[in-house]
């Protein structure tokens, strides 16, 4: 079986996998990094989003062999040690999650957005997150949390559990 080396969350990992092994299952089954989720297997739902060299990609259709030697960041590697990434903290403060299953993918897409657009508009967020489904319908709070993490000014903002009226 071929052997590939990837840098995952800052550490080199050697993987003995078939060339067609998707990164998703190498992470989940091989390395026990179960924060990255399976949702569709066809790059439609966004639950498996991770970063390869800082870009958000769908790990369910990205083979390990195609990214050998490259730098992968998963939800487990987003925080700086015990210091949560601002998006992770905002997700908690805004109480985004309902079931929570899609949220790792949402956060990874949002994190990639903020590296290129640190002060995103609603339209920027909608465009960057349109590929991440949330079956529970937490979209409004996802938007809020991204704005909160980015400290965006004058954006539509719903804080945790408060209606627009209460915020006014």
């Amino acid at each position: 079986m071929p052997r590939y080396t990837l840098n995952i969350n800052g550490a080199d990992q050697t993987l003995d996998v078939e060339p067609d092994m998707p990164l998703l299952w190498a992470l989940r089954d091989g390395l026990g990094l179960i924060g990255t989720k399976y949702g569709c297997g066809i790059a439609q739902c966004g639950a498996c989003t991770v970063h390869v060299n800082g870009m958000a990609i769908r790990s369910c259709v990205t083979t390990v062999s195609s990214i050998a030697g490259q730098k992968v960041t998963t939800i487990e590697g987003l925080a700086n040690g015990t210091q949560l990434h601002p998006l992770q903290q905002a997700w908690i403060d805004v109480d985004v999650a309902q079931c929570g299953y899609c949220q790792a993918g949402q956060i990874m897409s949002a994190a990639a957005l903020l590296t290129t657009k640190p002060d995103p508009s609603d339209a920027d967020i909608d465009a960057a997150l349109a590929g991440n489904y949330c079956r529970c319908g937490t979209y409004l709070r996802i938007r809020s949390a991204i704005h909160k993490a980015a400290n965006t000014k004058n954006a539509l903002f719903y804080d945790a559990g408060r209606t627009q009226e209460q915020l006014a």
Binding site: M1, E18, D20, M21, W25, R28, D29, G30, G32, I34, G35, T36, K37, Y38, G39, C40, G41, I42, Q44, C45, A47, T74, I75, A79, L84, Q88, W91, I92, D95, V96, A97, Q98, C99, G100, Y101, Q103, A104, I107, I125, D126, A127, A130, G131, Y133, C134, R135, C136, G137, T138, Y139, L140, R141, R143, L156, A160, G161, R162, T163, Q164, E165
Partner: protein, 749 residues
Amino acid sequence: MNNDQSSLIASIRKATATGIDRRGFLKLTGLLGGGFALAAMTPSVFAAAAEDAPLISDAQLNAFIRVTPEGKIVIYSANAEMGQGIKTALPMVIAEEMGASWSDVEVLQSPVNESLFGQQGAGGSTTVPRTWDQMRQMGASAREMFIGAGAIVMEVPREELTAANSRVTHDSGEFRTFAQLASLAAKQPVPDVATLEFKEREDYTIIGTAISGVDNKVIVTGGALFGIDTRVPDMLYAAYQKCPAIGGKVVGANIEEIKRLPGIVDAFIVKGNDNVMELLDGVAIVGTNTHAVFSAKQKLNVQWDESKASKDSWSKMAKDAEALRGKRGGEPVVKKGDVDTVFGNAQNTTVEAFYEYPFVAHFCMEPMNCTADYKKGSGGTKDTVELWIPTQGPARAFGPMKTMFGLEQDQVTINQMRLGGSFGRRIYSEYVCEVTEISKRVGKPVKLTWTREDDTRHDFYRVGGFQSVKAAVNKSGKLLAFENHHIGMRSDGKLVVGSGFTADEFPLQSIDNVRVTNTLFEIRTPCGPWRAPRSNTNAFVVQSFLDEVAHKAGRDYRDFLLEILGPSRWIEEGNIRAMHTGRAAGVIKLAAEKAGWGKKLPAGTGLGLAFFFSHAGHIAEVAEVEVDANKKLKVKRVTVAVDVGPVINFSGAVSQVQGAVIDGLSTMMMQKITMEGGRIQQSNFHDYPVLRMPSAPIVDVHFIQSDYRPTGLGEPALPPLAPAVGNAIFAASGQRVRKMPLSEEGYSI
């Protein structure tokens, strides 16, 4: 008081007076927390739980509460968490009555033990109303035990003590922390439930506030929580292929070829028991990773015997239903007054319409999965199985474990996992039976994961149907008669879950002339509860149709609804699952007011109102919608007014409503499951879309926090959405929406 308690009291007095910390104090006294069972929990049951090692070193106040030596208040959440927020909300109730500081609380998922924790399932928006008293009793009795301990230690009358902020405080200001008192509190007599007093609402400091979900940190850092995250040493991975035509039997398969594929450990045919809720025939593939078994599954060739499989055809159902348009069904199932005379009176205005709604899937983000570790007994020991199940009803698995595998409850260990969505889907547990059979066959722990395609094609669907409705109003526009020919589905002669139009539907109880008839098509496609069963389709028909009637009668829909409701009263006195017309009127008025009902809007924009009562919740919604000439829709805002009594977690409650609105919009716009020759025709997100973020409307949520008992909010905000949007489309464009999904009528979002 026995000697043991006397020495404990002396130790607490000495320790807390001389400032020795809690940890040192425990060492000093060498005492361990005892515990008492509450209410229905028998001492023997409690003793069994106390064998759980971590419990013994801490002070266990009752089944739900223990206090650690560090002063952490551990509260068990006994029910299934699927995104409805129960794992945060119920511990909030306990903490409130107990007088705990929320910052001291740690919530853990409890073991599955219904004799200890009561019913541990969740569904039907029933958990809050069912456990409200129980949770308050758990908190209040712990509080009384802490106060009892405080009275002894501080040598003051208990009437002079209060519990708050994780402390028992005397009127003089002297206090002891819960941590200091925990061991003695656990030895206090458990108060008689009848003597417990609960806090007044105005004294709440936790209930009604916005608290972030207790699992949020684990969720955002990618920790293990969900069933699919389960990893057990030496575990194998499995996929399971069932017949695409539901109920087909396996004749043969290319098993040997599959076994030779990379990463495959075993493959075999499983003979089922023909029970769709337990085990259908299929082929199991077991391997060293999920990718290996999913890939092998694509190379699987199975010969199926479909002679007894489903032959269901949606196109035939739609054709047969169309032929019944405007006709009446069989013997009336609801009959009151004389609809024929009202309809025959030329003075009245009669309106007729035909509505259609499809089957839909649950489509949970986390596909069905389960992990089982079946261990064969040897040398006289019995077989055992340990299960990791993301399920709405963990104890339901005990049934098939006994009937199918001969395992008694003491041979079965169930771990309740967080659910990556459910919406009614995970009430069933056929995946539990499948993986138990596979683990037993291979003699190793196995995680079974369904592919998204399996998940879409082997659901217990929200049932589709049709309704041919007719109503009459008099000259002044008052609703006099309502008739419905409900065309639904039955299976083995019985109405399937989610199909039906019964006497408790609005507006049947509020008017004098009513007739409901049924035509039921026999189907094999499995159907089950889907977020607000029956209500999610009946609301669409009734609230859209009544808006049509109001319009024909020249009436304002808000006023028309309020007139039908009549004077403020319970429809059925003493039954909280029946509607209260005053509460209904309250939310209708509030939603209308907040949405600016009656305001002047630009051309192509309209407001639509709908009200629905379901799952004990009174909810009205007003949608503001823009429609262009190409039927491109923009739902700009949905204003929601909710009366479910006092709100427990304000954050979770708003979230449920916003989510239900977006789920409702997703479903009405674009979702439809069809079947031909018994085969489900959709498979994944490309042919079963879900609403994306750019299409999500603003959802403005308002609560009327009435003094009635709190009720659940997982479901009731969904049903009013479709008719509110449909009525808004009519107001904006003059086009009626009578068929879901709207994508089939040319609409897009």
